[in-house]
């Protein structure tokens, strides 16, 4: 596995030194790993390169203010070895035991990664709890008795470092676009709009560019609203999970009221646009989707595993909305497109959640991967096979030609094979493979469906004109 600079430095420099490094390195590492894997799959993915460069730059900036305060870890070699096999799961922020009798005093500034074990004085600090959050605040147990060969951060310096991390709760207008993008989970929204566009494109009607644009905009705004309200509800949970702790509301970049206002400012025009400019059915579906996501899925995440099924419906609605936007009615084709997304969600999400089990458990999220692991694997496999079935159903419902099940068979078989491997092995590697496969599988599937779209044949037109129309409707625009 490619070893990023993050990995090496995290071995050398005590992760306990800077909170920011602790916060960023796991992200950096995991993101870098993910990106490298993505890169291997699709070298022309511009997102990968930009991300990598951005991460490197971020890392360098952090690094430059680090080197003067470096406190090498006590057991660097062991950490590196462990970390290589380690994934984000291990890099959970470990909370040291609170031992009031033995509180960390200012005069013992050896910021080592102490093991959170009550009563066990670690003579050798634990190597695997690499990402323990360190702060000079009392309550942390620094029980290592080794004398480090380091120069120590003075109290004043530590204070100053922490003071610098205090920020005013003030809106910085220049940051707002970035904040809004994060609130709206802009990349996820883009994927949602893409799946809706696929539904729109597959509808057996002449392509109307204005309608397409308006409906995409409306669906995008609705998605922004749903994502923002979701973040508004989940601030304390997001703070405690590695994946989500840099969200704007968690960091205090904007107030909750501001976030809700933004959500309303997106949602009301979005749904209104869909209802008035497209059709009421699409508007209704948009509002329903927002409701399902914010009021059903988000609370259910902490109550029961049925949240995954609700989430799958939420993911399936956008292509249905795209279809209804184009045709104005809820046809079989709409349900089929929704069915594709619904089935796809399971291998995608189950594989993703498999490697986040510790974070989910600590945060109190009830996911199949934590509470019913075998069901999790079974469901992922079942729905991957279901994709093959749905692809075969497509020509039966006159959505695509018979070419589609044939040419989509390789990718469907591949994802089913990975799901089967995940079912049998159930380890982190197979889960990761399945997850990354799902990321490219869906766009490929939708693209193949589009290329195999059944050409429209209008019976009243003369044959030549009908052929021209059919060609026109099946051309990508």
């Amino acid at each position: 596995m490619y070893k990023t600079p993050c990995c090496r430095l995290s071995g050398l420099v005590g992760l306990s030194v800077k909170q920011k490094l602790v916060l960023n390195v796991p992200q950096c590492n995991q993101s870098a790993r993910n990106l490298i894997q993505l890169h291997r799959r699709d070298p022309s993915n511009w997102l990968t390169y930009q991300h990598l460069i951005f991460l490197k730059r971020q890392y360098v900036i952090k690094n430059s203010e680090l080197h003067q305060r470096a406190i090498p870890k006590q057991a660097p070699a062991l950490t590196i070895v462990n970390e290589r096999e380690d994934t984000i799961e291990r890099r959970v922020q470990r909370i040291p035991t609170i031992d009031p009798a033995d509180r960390h005093t200012v005069s013992q500034p050896e910021d080592v990664n102490s093991e959170a074990q009550p009563g066990i004085s670690t003579l050798k600090p634990v190597a695997e709890d690499a990402a323990e959050q360190r702060d000079s605040v009392s309550g942390t147990v620094g029980t290592s008795h080794e004398t480090p060969h380091v120069h120590v951060e003075t109290d004043k310096a530590k204070e100053e470092r922490l003071d610098r991390q205090w920020k005013q709760l003030k809106v910085i207008v220049a940051d707002l676009p970035d904040v809004y993008a994060k609130l709206a989970k802009i990349k996820l929204t883009a994927l949602v709009v893409t799946s809706a566009a696929a539904g729109f494109a597959m509808a057996p009607v002449p392509f109307d560019p204005l309608l397409f644009f308006v409906s995409s905009l409306g669906i995008g705004l609705a998605s922004c609203t749903a994502n923002t309200i979701n973040q508004f509800f989940e601030v304390p949970f997001d703070s405690n999970m590695n994946r989500t702790k840099n969200r704007p509301l968690v960091r205090g970049q904007i107030s909750p009221l501001h976030a809700v206002s933004f959500a309303l400012a997106c949602g009301i025009p979005g749904v209104a646009l869909l209802t008035l400019a497209v059709n009421p059915l699409t508007g209704f579906l948009g509002a329903l989707n927002i409701f399902l996501y914010t009021c059903c899925y988000t609370p259910l995440k902490r109550l029961s595993i049925t949240n995954t099924w609700v989430g799958a419906v939420v993911g399936a609605l956008p292509p249905v909305m795209g279809w209804t936007a184009a045709t104005g009615c809820l046809g079989q084709g709409a349900l089929l497109m929704g069915g594709f997304l619904y089935c796809w969600q399971f291998p995608h999400f189950n594989a993703l959640s498999w490697n986040l089990r510790e974070d989910y458990s600590r945060g109190g999220y009830r996911m199949m991967s934590v509470t019913h692991p075998s069901m999790c694997k079974r469901v992922a496999l079942r729905h991957s096979l279901g994709l093959i079935g749905l692809s075969t159903l497509a020509p039966v419902l006159d959505v695509t030609t018979w070419t589609f099940p044939i040419i989509s068979l390789p990718i469907n078989l591949y994802i089913s094979y990975l799901a089967f491997r995940f079912y049998r092995e159930g380890d982190r590697g197979s889960a990761r493979k399945l997850f990354f496969c799902s990321l490219w599988h869906l766009p490929m599937l939708l693209l193949l469906a589009f290329t195999c779209k059944k050409p429209r044949r209008d019976p009243e037109e003369p044959p030549a004109a009908a052929l021209a129309l059919a060609l026109q409707s099946s051309l990508p625009s």
């Binding site: 909370i95 360190r134 304390p236 510790e358 109190g364």
Partner: protein
């Protein structure tokens, strides 16, 4: 000892200097924040990064290592209305309550996880560390048993926390909205008054 604890507490709460050392343990340190927040700003010490005395905004700090939540120091305006006071108290109280819950949650999770690992290793007859001194790690399937158990035992506690959190979050946001509207109303009426007085 007192100086050390106050220094530690002060680090937690940079904008204010502690004159009266609160009884400080790791958990109680946050309860002090309610008392501290009601004190007016006092002279800050030398560091240039500390918020100035005449701060006009709330300040948000780095995540607390126990609860991973970020503490907020609330700014108290001069003519604080009742509504604003209610809002501030509710926010402070919710923050403390949240911190309390998550500290306990994280602490018990880590403690129970350790106990589980040790008991599992004992059952297999292995020591905590292997020959090279590295900690033994358990298979993720074995750990999954622990994660499931943790969720199951804490199910009721989690759902009651959920309900309470949603309620509080909603109330705070509604209060913020009311405060904001009232401020706008005041600004508008003041401007009207100024216009009318300047006209006459």
């Amino acid at each position: 000892m007192a100086s050390k604890t106050t220094a530690a507490a002060w680090r937690m709460f940079s904008p204010f200097t502690l004159h009266s050392p609160c009884s400080i343990s790791a958990l109680n340190i946050r309860q002090c924040s309610s008392k501290l927040a009601t004190k007016q700003d006092t002279t800050p010490k030398g560091s240039p990064f500390r918020p100035a005395v005449s701060s006009t905004h709330d300040w948000i700090g780095p995540p607390n290592p126990l609860s991973n939540l970020r503490p907020i120091v609330y700014h108290i305006p001069e003519n604080e209305s009742d509504l604003q006071k209610r809002l501030r108290h509710l926010r402070q109280e919710t923050e403390d309550w949240n911190h309390d819950f998550w500290t306990k949650q994280n602490f018990s999770f880590t403690k129970q996880k350790e106990e589980f690992i040790i008991s599992q290793l004992k059952a297999e007859g292995l020591t905590l560390r292997d020959e090279e001194g590295r900690r033994r790690s358990l298979d993720s399937e074995v750990m999954a048993v622990f994660y499931k158990g943790f969720l199951d035992t804490n199910g009721v506690r989690h759902s009651s926390y959920n309900n309470e959190w949603y309620r509080r979050n909603f109330t705070i946001t509604m209060l913020m909205a009311r405060v904001a509207l009232r401020n706008i109303w005041r600004t508008v009426t003041k401007r009207n008054d100024n216009n009318s007085t300047s006209a006459t």
